[in-house]
């Protein structure tokens, strides 16, 4: 909300720089997001940092308040006039101007009643009114169509007040105006842009902000008069009120002004509305807006005669819920279907307005209106919130009522509003106000022991300090021993009657006014809860470190996907291997392709691969994240998964020409998985032929740990690859459940002592059937080699001449070592013989001749 400092000063004296005030309000919870300067210089205040402003600072000697005494015709130009200006100098100054709003005074002699404007003397700096972009200019004397001119009367644009450049500023006469006063003292201003949290509903007005300013600065509030001067017949009998839903409409007040004139508002009112971003319309509507922003009490003005016409006599204002199928055309020309819970203002002929939200078109104020019926009411904020949502009707009124306006404010607004209307438009106010108040809220009194304040804040506040803080906020405070008894002022709805919550409410107010900066910084002295490590987090982080160490980058994806996307992972005709669980479906998805939560990490990781393939051929990434499996309960299961993706050249080709070792394949993936398991010291694992539908059936594996299948990995199925256009290079993907890894990792493991005896190395090549898996051959070798065989490393796989068809040669590098003695050639030969014998016997293997 925009808050001009000039307007605030009507209710509170502000003797600190506005920059300091902004900082004090900000730390007190009214966040001042921006300061807009009008004519006044920005001040530097120690400890307060602000963006520097590049606004026009008005020269106090050269930009002056001046009276336009007379307007004369320009002898040589129809579109220019000569304004004779009294700026406090010895003689009148003649300004040549094209301001259209002065033309009506042309050649009519001295202007009476006087009008005032902003005068810029030769040499003063103003904005160039003709320029589209902000451009400064300095006034210099020059001839304008034969008349010498050196100064001017200014438009709002030339002064940086607004973009208005149709005419010059014309202000009505005010008793205290003196020609030659610095303009900065009359129109100079700073507009605070304040952001309010939802609890600050009471601050959505100038008076609301002024109360906070008064409390923060410790000065008195100066309220405007809420009385009115009635001259007409009593309002009783001219209109009736019938509240049918007191819960939704706890108060409804009316005042009546007869024989007034609807016209343009005076400069001061238009100026204030424009400063806060509101468009002036006419004096009646402007007053309703003005009170909305001054007091925070929205008003609604009816054309009284139209109500009489509709009623065919004395109107009755009824607040009620709609009839089935009822409609209303509102001020914004929208015909609205009314939901069952929308509270209406109506009369006997039908709906008039959406209560507290927006008025109806039929009874609105027009230029012909003579008699104005002014409504100020209180509405249930939740009911208003429902109406806003249902009708998508966001107005200044609904913004306030939906956050909560205390019913006490209604009568104040109704009385002050009608009096301002009378002052601006004339007429006679009917005596008295109609005030239907079926449901006044109970006043709230809270007791808080000072000991509790001090204990919760962690500082020593005296009972007098605390009481003073609350009094500044207009609480009624009594001190009873060590207890503060505070009664909330009647503009506040946010203080709870619940004793414990009410205490916290007061605590916050005391802390805010004393200043959060006054609370010390302490170290918790309270008992420390037992410190237990979170194993799941530790192992997850360990997995990340292992995979990063293996050269993989971590990705984190959206958890959203769609059924259609995940269906792409199932080749045509294949049975899905994805979890059979239900999906968590989003009712209001950000996009249709993100309307469920994922069952697998695969979709997103394949999409990552597609995106990254544009820039990088080698990709090695992993993700650890949840999948969401609906299980029929209210909430889904959220197990953690590890996804791994590898693709592209194992080592990129390099300038020395001998780097590349081909593209990554199944065995790279297997290496990553095995090193992960080894690093977690999970030794009880095995692979079986892959069965995951999204992976190539011949080039994938299922991973078993302690006989439990915990994941699958391998080359992605060619059909899946084709769907994602991932066909330039083979893509390896694996997905493993994280929870079994956490469960099965070995926290403690023993190491093997380092032998001091020498090792004997030798190579053997075995020719076996092509269908025999390498793992079986290695198992036979290791079993036969026993304790002495320390390692058997497969270093060559060969088929083709001279190996007979249907056979393959597997060459192993064997390491023999005995910790207890030094092996002789004879010992080694014995083991070798045993291995070859076992291989021949169990695998039908032949030793390949050298």
């Amino acid at each position: 909300m925009l808050v001009p400092i000039s307007w605030l000063k009507e209710y509170v004296d502000i003797d600190v720089p506005v920059e300091l005030l902004a900082e004090r309000l900000t730390v007190a919870g009214l966040e001042v997001a921006h300061l807009k300067y009008i004519g006044l210089p920005q001040q530097t205040v120690a400890g307060v940092r602000m963006p520097s402003s590049d606004h026009l600072v008005w020269d106090r000697e050269k930009l002056l308040l001046a009276r336009i005494v007379e307007v004369k015709a320009h002898p040589n130009a129809d579109r220019l006039v000569l304004a004779m200006v009294d700026y406090g100098g010895e003689e009148l100054e003649q300004c040549v101007t094209g301001a259209t709003n002065l033309f009506s005074y042309k050649d009519r002699g001295p202007i009476n009643p006087p009008i005032w404007s902003a005068f810029a003397m030769e040499g003063s700096e103003v904005w160039d009114g003709q320029s589209d972009k902000p451009k400064r200019m300095t006034l210099k004397g020059k001839e304008l169509r034969g008349i010498f001119n050196r100064s001017m009367v200014c438009s709002e644009k030339e002064l940086g007040i607004s973009d208005e450049h149709e005419g010059v500023i014309v202000m009505e006469h005010e008793a205290h105006y003196v020609a030659g006063t610095s303009l900065a003292d009359v129109l100079g201003d700073v507009v605070l842009d304040i952001e309010f949290t939802p609890n600050l509903a009471r601050c959505l007005s100038m008076i609301g902000v002024a109360r906070e300013v008064a409390a923060v600065l410790g000065v008195e509030m100066r309220y405007p008069s809420f009385d009115f001067t009635a001259k007409g017949a009593p309002i009783e009998g001219q209109v009736y009120i019938d509240i049918r839903e007191p819960e939704l409409n706890p108060r409804f007040t009316l005042t009546l002004l007869r024989d007034t004139e609807v016209k343009t508002s005076p400069f001061w009112l238009q100026h204030r509305l424009k400063l806060i971003g509101q468009r002036p319309r006419n004096n009646i509507v402007d007053v309703t807006n003005y009170l909305t922003f001054e007091l925070g009490q929205p008003l609604h003005a009816f054309d009284y005669d139209k109500l009489v016409e509709r009623a065919g006599g004395v109107p009755t204002i009824i607040t009620r819920l709609p009839h089935p199928g009822e409609q209303l055309e509102t001020l914004d020309d929208v015909t609205r279907d009314l939901g069952a819970e929308t509270i209406l203002v109506a009369d006997t002929a039908g709906a008039l307005s959406l209560g507290g939200v927006i008025g109806g078109g039929e009874t609105e104020i027009s230029e012909a209106t003579r008699n104005v019926l002014l409504e100020a009411a209180a509405w249930n904020n939740i009911s208003i919130r429902k109406t806003i949502r249902e009708q998508r009707a966001h107005t200044e009124a609904s913004a306030r009522f939906s956050r909560g306006v205390h019913p006490s404010q209604a009568i104040l607004g109704c009385q002050r509003g009608i009096e301002l209307m009378r002052q601006l438009g004339g007429g006679a106010i009917a005596d008295g106000a109609l005030d239907a108040y079926p449901l006044p809220p109970a006043s709230v009194t809270v007791d808080v022991p000072i000991e509790r304040v001090n204990r919760l804040l962690g500082m020593e506040v005296t009972i007098d300090q605390a009481a003073d803080a609350l009094r500044r906020l207009e609480f009624e405070v009594a001190i009873e021993g060590d207890v503060i008894r505070a009664t909330a002022p009647d503009h506040r709805l946010d203080i709870s009657a619940n004793p414990v919550i009410g205490q916290h409410d007061l605590l916050e107010e005391i802390a805010r006014i004393i200043g959060y900066d006054q609370i010390p910084e302490t170290i918790m002295a309270d008992e420390m809860p037992p410190q237990r490590e979170n194993t799941a987090v530790l192992i997850e982080e360990r997995i990340r470190d292992i995979l990063v160490g293996a050269g993989l980058y971590e990705v984190i994806n959206y958890r959203f996907t769609s059924r259609e996307s995940e269906a792409l992972l199932v080749p045509s005709g294949a049975a899905s291997s994805l979890p059979a669980a239900g999906y968590v479906e989003i009712a209001n998805p950000a996009a249709s392709e993100r309307d469920v939560l994922r069952h697998t990490l695969m979709i997103n990781m394949l999409e990552n691969a597609v995106n990254n393939a544009r820039f990088q051929s080698t990709q090695q990434v992993f993700e650890i994240g949840k999948v969401y499996l609906g299980a029929g309960d209210l909430l889904p299961e959220e197990p953690m998964r590890l996804g791994i993706l590898l693709t592209g050249p194992r080592i990129p080709s390099w300038w020395d020409g001998d780097g590349s070792t081909g593209e990554m394949d199944f065995f790279d993936m297997k290496g990553v998985v095995e090193s992960l398991l080894h690093s977690l010291h999970i030794s009880d694992f095995a692979l079986e032929s892959g069965t995951h539908c999204s992976l190539h059936p011949g080039r994938s594996a299922n991973l078993l740990a302690a006989d439990e299948r915990i994941g699958s990995f391998g080359e992605i199925h060619p059909e899946v690859a084709a769907r994602f256009k991932l066909t330039d290079a083979k893509v390896m993907y694996g997905e493993i459940a994280v929870e079994p890894l956490i469960r099965q990792h070995q926290r403690l493991h023993t190491i093997e002592a380092l032998p001091i005896t020498p090792a004997v190395l030798e190579d053997i090549a075995l020719v076996v059937n092509e269908s025999t898996p390498a793992s079986e051959v290695e198992a036979v070798i290791r079993q036969a080699g026993g304790r002495i065989l320390k390692d058997a490393l497969l270093f060559d796989v060969y088929t083709g001449d001279p190996i007979p068809p249907g056979k393959k040669s597997l060459a192993y590098s064997l390491t023999y070592q005995d910790e207890r003695r030094t092996l002789t050639d004879k010992n080694a030969a014995k083991i070798r013989k045993k291995i070859i014998g076992a291989a021949r016997h169990r695998l039908d293997a032949e030793l390949r001749s050298q």
Partner: protein, 344 residues
């Protein structure tokens, strides 16, 4: 006969002088001094001489062998030193050629920041408590003092599921209730936890806002937890996370689940508080929303709010990561462009 010795000597020495590299040295050595070389052959002829000449001849061949051996070593040393000099002079490589690529992986920047957070908070006795992403409306809002139609529900645009009782958590705060109920032993035990995790909001995805983001929430419950403790604890975090001299500002604010509530700002570490584009020339960066746990929330967690008190705070790791690394587009985080990830 003696002419043969002289011949060999002259031939050998003159050949030696021509030699320029170690290969030809080796050849020369086997030609003259090897087992079957010229000198060796001379020794082989001794047996064929008359006995009286044998001793003198033998001495001369021995002398020749020594002389040639010495000359060889001298020549070898010379060639070695020449080769070394040449290598030092001419064996220069172009060190500007690109390095061989090493496989280097990396953690996601979000993980890096979360680890930093977790380490700092662990030092202050806050343990990690993980809570669920898909939540009940009741835990995400109602039990946190945000009943249906509460104005503060407008502050968060929520992803609801097809079951209106279930939503994607909009903040990590529902974990407060779960942690209190799980760890509080019926409101009898103190708690100190942090709750990291992914949160979701139905927003337009732009450079500044995302539909998913991580949060770290902190919660301390005890019989004597004070607002001054909240200030002291967050100030300590700011000193560890930003700078030992970090200045901190506390502003009154509003969160339905805390009261009193406050926003915590830290002096902008990019400009030292002088004002820059990132801190919007205010000199301050917002780092945490916090406050004393609201009595209703304590009660909903199983604690008696007239006996127990607590504080809570919430922080946004992405924002801190963005500030620290000058990341201007939040969409980088879940975009997973390797060119981004490889910069950490």
């Amino acid at each position: 006969m003696s002419d043969a010795i002289v011949d060999i000597r002259e031939k050998a020495l003159s050949a030696l002088e021509q030699l320029k590299d170690s290969d030809s040295l080796t050849d020369w050595h086997s030609l003259y001094l090897g087992r079957r070389g010229a000198v060796g052959k001379l020794f082989g002829t001794i047996g064929a001489l008359p006995p009286e000449e044998r001793a003198a001849f033998g001495q001369r061949v021995n002398a020749l062998q020594k002389e040639l051996g010495a000359a060889f070593e001298e020549r070898e040393a010379l060639i070695q030193s020449q080769l070394l000099a040449r290598d030092l002079e001419e064996g220069e490589i172009d060190i500007s050629l690109p390095a061989y690529p090493r496989r280097r992986g990396g953690l996601h920047p979000s993980t890096r920041t979360h680890r930093e957070f977790q380490m700092i908070w662990a030092d202050m006795g806050f343990q990690v408590y993980q809570s669920r992403d898909v939540e009940e409306d009741e835990f995400n809002f109602t039990l946190l003092n945000l009943p249906p139609h509460h104005p503060a529900r407008d502050m968060q645009d929520t992803f609801y599921t097809k079951d209106p009782r279930v939503l994607l958590r909009t903040h990590t705060s529902p974990g407060q209730i779960r942690a209190m109920r799980e760890l509080g032993a019926g409101g009898t035990k103190p708690i100190r936890v942090i709750l990291p995790g992914m949160c979701y909001r139905q927003e337009q995805v732009t450079a500044r806002s995302e539909i998913q983001f991580t949060q770290v929430e902190g919660l301390a419950i005890g019989r004597n937890i004070r607002m001054s403790d909240l200030k002291g604890t967050i100030a300590e975090f700011a000193k560890r996370m930003y700078s030992p001299n970090a200045k901190v500002r506390y502003r009154a604010s509003y969160f339905p689940f805390t009261e009193p509530s406050m926003e915590v700002d830290v002096e902008c570490f990019l400009c030292g508080g002088k004002g820059c584009r990132v801190c919007k020339y205010t000199g301050w960066l917002e780092i945490a929303g916090s406050g004393m746990v609201h009595p209703d929330v304590l009660r909903n967690g199983g604690y008696d709010p007239s006996v127990w008190s607590g504080f809570a705070f919430g922080m946004g790791p992405e924002r801190i990561t963005m500030l620290k690394h000058g990341i201007e587009d939040i969409r980088y985080f879940w975009g997973n462009d390797l060119r981004f990830l490889q910069q950490f």
